[in-house]
Amino acid sequence: MLPHYGPQLVNLLAAVLLLLAFAMLSQRRILSLINLFAAQGLVLFLATVLVAMITAQGHLYWSAAVTLLLKVFLLPWILHRLIRRLNVKWDVETLVNIPTLMIFGLVIVILAFNLAAPISLLAGTVTRSTLGIALASVLLSFLMMITRSKAVPQVVAFLAMENGLFFAATATVYGMPMVVELGVALDVLVASLILGVFLFQIRSRFDSVDTRHLERLKEH
């Protein structure tokens, strides 16, 4: 049963990942953004466990455990604490209006699917067609990062980008070497801690977390 349903479930989880990336793109509220990010982490965890069961590779279980700890519990907790201390529970505003953003997102998805099509033929796995979706999620998070003006959503977008990369690695080539994975996870953790410190500095300087204020620095 697993060999038959397993890849289909991975495909389904890939589709849910893309859905969450789109939902994050059009989300206005910060709390919902963080919850969606945690949901993405959960989807990643499930996908990694599934791939581990299909291919019977032990190290992927460890990878899944790290994902769960980091992306479903630790990082969202850090982010929740951050927004509470920054008092930024307001509505998120976007630079471009949402329908235009969705159209860009759609164009990006088409582009990503077509770019990934010849590459995914090279991989030897059953779930290789999800490379297009993973690439699309990465690009969508990137789009989200450049169209937001407040700092915390940009941080969340950066973390979501890493989610997409992780999914690409897991589904297409059945995981990265453990060393690479631990390194990337550590980098992400450290980056978010530094960004947290950075955000406090911005807030104490400008009394707001709008990154457009950073452009005024050059007057000094």
Partner: protein
């Protein structure tokens, strides 16, 4: 034998639609009441409302035209026809070659066209307000619904509704990711088209918030009864479409009498669960500003287009 069972299925479906649609609305209101910890109006309340309205006299504005007077019957007829072509009990319906998925969307658009015109007929501020808002919801929801049906058509290589249901029910259990996207889009579209929270409040009479109620403000008596019945039929039709596309298990295939008999309780159970889920969704969400409705529906449209793309990528 096939033809006879098909004909019986068809007539049963039409009868069920006409008779049970108010019951579905009553069930949804009752579930909402239970979730809100009040004792509701009772499952049969819509029938009592209809009976009361039929007894009352029709009061027409001086400048109401014959279009206004005939619209309720036209709308009711369109929606009964739409209910007749969605396969709920069996897939072997005799009317099926006459209308496919695109014609179904066309019939719903016809009903919307006439109710909007009827809203504009008397020339009050509320009527044109409601008509304008209804068409605004319509011009985004209709393409989204069409795209959802297209996704299902691409999977089953046909736009004929019975073929779609037969394919989706009888492939060995295959999970279609594109149907996940299409499901979310369809839920959003049905909420908007049936005037449910978060797009419109079916129980409100405040000008700032109403869409459907504003259009039918001038109707009374048996005309209003037909319109209310048509509105609950619309909810019924949308639920049937959702069940046919996403949960087609239990629908009788071909000319199977036993399957047909078993399909009835399966259908009723699915409708009950669907109604409860609708009530839960209405409970959890707040009504959004009318100016946010195009964004909501635009998102649904984009999700439906994404479903098409995911199908082309992942499922070929």
């Amino acid at each position: 034998m096939n033809d006879a069972s098909g004909l019986v299925a068809q007539l049963t479906e039409v009868a069920l639609a006409i008779l049970l649609a108010p019951l579905l609305s009553g069930w949804v209101s009752q579930c909402r009441a239970w979730l809100q910890n009040r004792s509701g109006p009772g499952l049969l309340q819509p029938y009592r409302v209809l009976a009361k309205l039929f007894e009352k006299e029709v009061v027409l504005a001086h400048n109401a035209s014959s279009l206004f007077r005939s619209s309720p019957y036209l709308i009711f007829g369109c929606l009964v026809l739409a209910a007749a072509i969605v396969p709920t009990l069996g897939t072997d319906l005799p009317l099926n070659p006459a209308a496919d998925a695109i014609a179904l969307v066309g019939l719903l658009a016809l009903a919307r066209f006439f109710i909007a015109l009827a809203g504009m007929d008397v020339g009050t501020a509320f009527g044109s307000l409601g008509a304008r808002r209804e068409m605004m919801v319509g011009f985004l929801a209709e393409p989204a619904l069409l795209m959802v049906l297209f996704t299902a058509s691409l999977i089953s290589h046909s736009t004929s509704l019975s073929t779609i249901v037969a394919t989706l029910a009888h492939r060995e259990f295959v999970i279609y990711p594109s149907m996940a996207f299409a499901g979310v889009a369809f839920t959003m579209v049905s909420l908007a088209e049936n005037a449910r929270i978060p797009v419109d409040n079916p129980a409100t009479h405040l000008e700032l918030t109403m869409i459907h109620e504003a259009m039918v403000l001038e109707y009374s008596g048996r005309h209003l009864a037909m319109i209310e019945w048509a509105a609950s039929l619309k909810l019924f039709v949308y639920s049937c479409i959702g069940l046919a596309l996403f949960f087609p298990f239990g629908v009788a295939q071909g000319g199977d009498w036993l399957g047909l008999v078993l399909a009835l309780p399966a259908f009723a159970a699915k409708l009950a669960v669907g109604g409860a889920a609708l009530a839960a969704i209405e409970m959890v969400n707040a009504k959004m500003r009318i100016f946010r409705a195009p964004e909501f529906l635009g998102t649904a449209f984009m999700l439906a287009v994404l479903a098409l793309l995911v199908h082309v990528l992942l499922e070929r």
